[in-house]
């Protein structure tokens, strides 16, 4: 059982929970995640460790409420308990010892790219971050990321920072600077777009994938992704991979497997699901 120490609403649908997990807080490294299971009957879901405080023994989880399980988690108040917080899982981010790094976070991905920027900064790598969201109120981790270097903000409607997407400034940034590595975390289509922009110049581009997972220890194989034509398990082989090798179409498609169930969980408290509800071809 892990106690929720504090809760902060970062945007209308993004919540930050600081959870007591001393061992994980002590040893977690950038890029690693935990599996969270609210009660014995809840779903087990993977969440990246956005930050930690070894002194207070807490880890920071940033959760976007999209399905039933994330809605339940984001409703937790300080003092509440979570049945299971397991980790830290996955390989830590590969961090260079020096040079220039570009960290890109789309939407809630800003929280996931945070520990990477933090890790780079601690090693003395020069960090430039780009974060983006639809509107001003959905921009998160702005102050935190600003500590690690230059921060560029984009919103779809121009209500904060510049108007556009996180990829908008990339052609110019790539043309005018030398980058040793680019990290991209966010919706699949965004990570794919970043990878396509860095591909011509062959800039090492690392993406953090978020497929459906159960155990997080390699046992179920639900999180399989195709990387360089090979099937990999995101939980034990990732969650970070070479963005130029990832089959994003398959990743995006596999993320839709349970969409109909999530809709029905919102709708009705009983009865079996109708598999015939239409599945969007192009998920957001």
């Amino acid at each position: 059982m892990n106690k929720v120490i504090s809760r902060r609403q970062l945007s209308p649908n993004i919540t930050r929970l600081d959870v007591l997990a001393p061992r994980i807080a002590e040893i977690r490294r950038p890029g690693q995640f935990v599996i969270v299971c609210l009660t014995e009957d809840s779903e087990r879901i993977p969440l990246t460790i956005a930050d930690s405080n070894p002194a207070s023994g807490t880890i920071t989880l940033v959760i976007q409420a999209v399905g039933h399980s994330t809605l339940e988690l984001t409703a937790l108040e300080p003092g509440a308990f979570i049945c299971a917080v397991t980790g830290p899982l996955g390989h830590p981010t590969e961090l260079p010892a020096s040079g220039n790094a570009l960290c890109i976070g789309g939407g809630v991905g800003a929280a996931v790219v945070h520990p990477i920027a933090q890790g780079l900064h601690r090693r003395g790598v020069r960090v430039t971050s780009i974060i983006g969201a639809r509107t001003r109120e959905q921009i998160i981790f702005e102050a935190e990321l600003r500590q690690f270097g230059n921060l560029i903000i984009y919103t779809d409607d121009g209500s904060h920072g510049r108007r556009g997407y996180v990829t908008t400034p990339m052609p110019e940034l790539l043309a005018n600077n030398t980058w040793d590595v680019v990290y991209a975390v966010g919706p699949g289509l965004m990570m794919q777009a970043v990878a396509e922009l860095t591909r011509p110049a062959k800039i090492r581009t690392i993406v953090s994938l978020n497929p459906v997972m159960i155990d997080g220890t390699g046992m179920c194989g639900g999180c399989r992704v195709s990387v360089g034509g090979e099937t990999k398990f995101a939980c034990v082989d990732g969650p970070e991979f070479d963005g130029h090798q990832v089959d994003f179409r398959e990743l995006l498609d596999r993320l839709t497997i349970y969409h109909t169930f999530e809709e029905s969980a919102h709708r009705a408290p009983s009865g079996h699901c109708d598999k015939k509800i239409s599945i969007p071809n192009e998920p957001k």
Binding site: G218, M219, F261
Partner: protein, 475 residues
């Protein structure tokens, strides 16, 4: 009651069938198929045992249960004594009584097997185990073990639980580490409710807890703590974290939507309760036509679950013939009675999907029996021109698992075989002194009872090892 029977009289008692739910009813529910003997049936069946002077049944038991002893006590109606005897030999009798392949172990060795029908040892083991759970007040209070040297066990499956029971009995202070949020491993996520009720698993684990075993869930050894870290805190370690990564066939279409590994399919339902969605939060795709690939117990469990989830066609696709199926004979019979169809001598070639990448069918080819291969089983050979498409909307791949690298990767000194399984000596000790291993992480995929045998052997070896160790500063 049956004390004065002559051998001739015993021989005249017919073997008692296990009462079970009718196939057409059980195919639509998750309740246990076998209902268990009544006390009357159990006593009568136990009195069939001839008390052979040289009981061969014992030799067939990987955990060394003193079978004639508990049968004899049972036949005399000495329930509590029978239970004590059984529990002393076997930490998980309610499990083994239900899932052991008795037909090729103890019961195959029973002298009566040659005379028609062996004593139903498994059914009787189950009866005594269940009696023990419901009559705890009639059993002597369990002594909490003296706090001996600390021993860590990695993985709370059959091997780990058995070793925990044995080591606690020997006076060690045992801590079990489990990666999932519930203990039991394959007993919890793998074997379905209708074959092994979770209530029985919970009772067995609770009995171990009462004897002083500490179980720490949500700890992944290799991630949360490394093996070298465990070595510093514990006098000995037993690694029984099971097999890991599910194998796929490497045929086109395996990442389509609707394709599951058996591990994922079973875990969603058995551990996470997906058949009760949305009351349980984990969903599973409910196929109308479900093809399960494989011929072992895991494949049987998956296909029978699919049937219970409402599949009109629940099919086994297996490339060899019935006689090579690794599944327990009883499970195959049960499955067929429940309407499961067997597509034998059939090998999958490709999985097809629709424009949205949902599974629509499995391209297969028919096989014929060829020469025996390295495993001694007849090698199946394709029949040219026999390709056909089996329409289905869910495919479950149940062809085994590879060794999980999570723990071994954090301890490179640990010697592994080429498949990544841990190498051990005849006592179950690894290449590192004081580190033992057993179960599927050593054997590859095997059975519950073989894992339990490893757990028992390792516990005894750990005891011998620690007896010979000078008091360790860190212990």
């Amino acid at each position: 009651m049956n004390t004065r029977l002559t051998t001739k009289q015993r021989l005249q008692i017919p073997r008692h069938k296990m009462p079970k739910q009718e196939a057409s009813i059980r195919a639509a529910n998750f309740s246990e198929v076998n209902l268990g003997y009544t006390e009357q049936l159990a006593l009568r069946e136990a009195s069939r045992c001839l008390n052979c002077r040289d009981p061969r049944c014992l030799r067939g038991c990987p955990v060394g249960v003193n079978i004639p002893k508990f049968l004899n006590l049972l036949a005399h109606g000495k329930m509590a004594e029978a239970a004590q005897s059984l529990l002393r030999d076997n930490a998980l009798p309610a499990v083994t009584g239900r899932v052991c392949p008795q037909d090729i172990q103890c019961e195959a060795n029973c002298v009566l097997a040659g005379k028609g029908a062996s004593v139903s040892i498994g059914n009787l083991e189950r009866f005594v185990a269940d009696w023990a759970s419901s009559h705890r007040e009639q059993l002597p209070a369990i002594k909490i073990s003296a706090k001996g040297k600390p021993v860590a066990i990695v993985g709370s499956g059959p091997a780990g639980l058995t070793a925990a029971g044995e080591l606690t009995h020997l006076g060690y202070s045992v801590t079990l580490f489990e990666a999932l949020h519930k203990p039991g491993r394959v007993l919890s996520y793998g074997i379905p409710e209708f074959r092994l009720p979770k209530k029985n698993v919970a009772q067995e684990i609770e009995r171990l807890r009462v004897t002083g075993v500490t179980i720490e869930c949500n700890v992944v050894i290799g991630r949360t703590y490394t093996l070298p870290e465990l070595q510093k805190q514990f006098a000995a370690v037993f690694i029984a974290n099971g097999s890991g990564l599910p194998m796929f066939m490497n045929i086109p279409g395996e990442n389509l939507k609707g394709v599951y590994s058996a591990n994922e399919y079973l875990t969603r339902i058995n551990l996470m309760g997906a058949h009760q969605f949305p009351r349980s939060r984990t969903p599973v795709i409910n196929g109308v036509r479900v093809a399960v690939i494989g011929g072992g117990n895991v494949a049987m469990d998956a296909v029978r679950i699919a049937r219970r989830m409402g599949a009109s066609d629940a099919m086994i696709v297996y490339r060899r013939s019935r006689s090579e199926m690794a599944a327990r004979a009883e499970e195959v019979h049960h499955a067929e009675a429940e309407g499961v169809k067997l597509q034998l001598l059939t090998a999958p070639l490709e999985i097809f999907g629709d424009e949205r990448r949902w599974v629509t069918g499995l391209k297969c080819q028919r096989m014929q029996i060829g020469e025996p291969d390295a495993s001694g089983r007849a090698r199946p050979e394709p029949i040219p021109g026999s390709e056909f498409i089996l329409p289905c909307d869910v495919v479950v791949v149940a062809i085994g698992a590879r060794a999980n690298p999570l723990l071994t990767a954090t301890c490179p000194e640990l010697k592994l075989n080429r498949q990544g399984n841990i190498l051990v000596d005849e006592n179950g000790m690894t290449s590192l002194p004081g580190i033992f291993a057993g179960g599927d992480i050593v054997r590859g995929a095997a059975t519950v009872i073989l894992a339990m045998g490893d757990g028992k052997r390792a516990a005894k070896a750990i005891d011998r090892y620690l007896q010979n160790q000078p008091a360790k500063a860190t212990a």
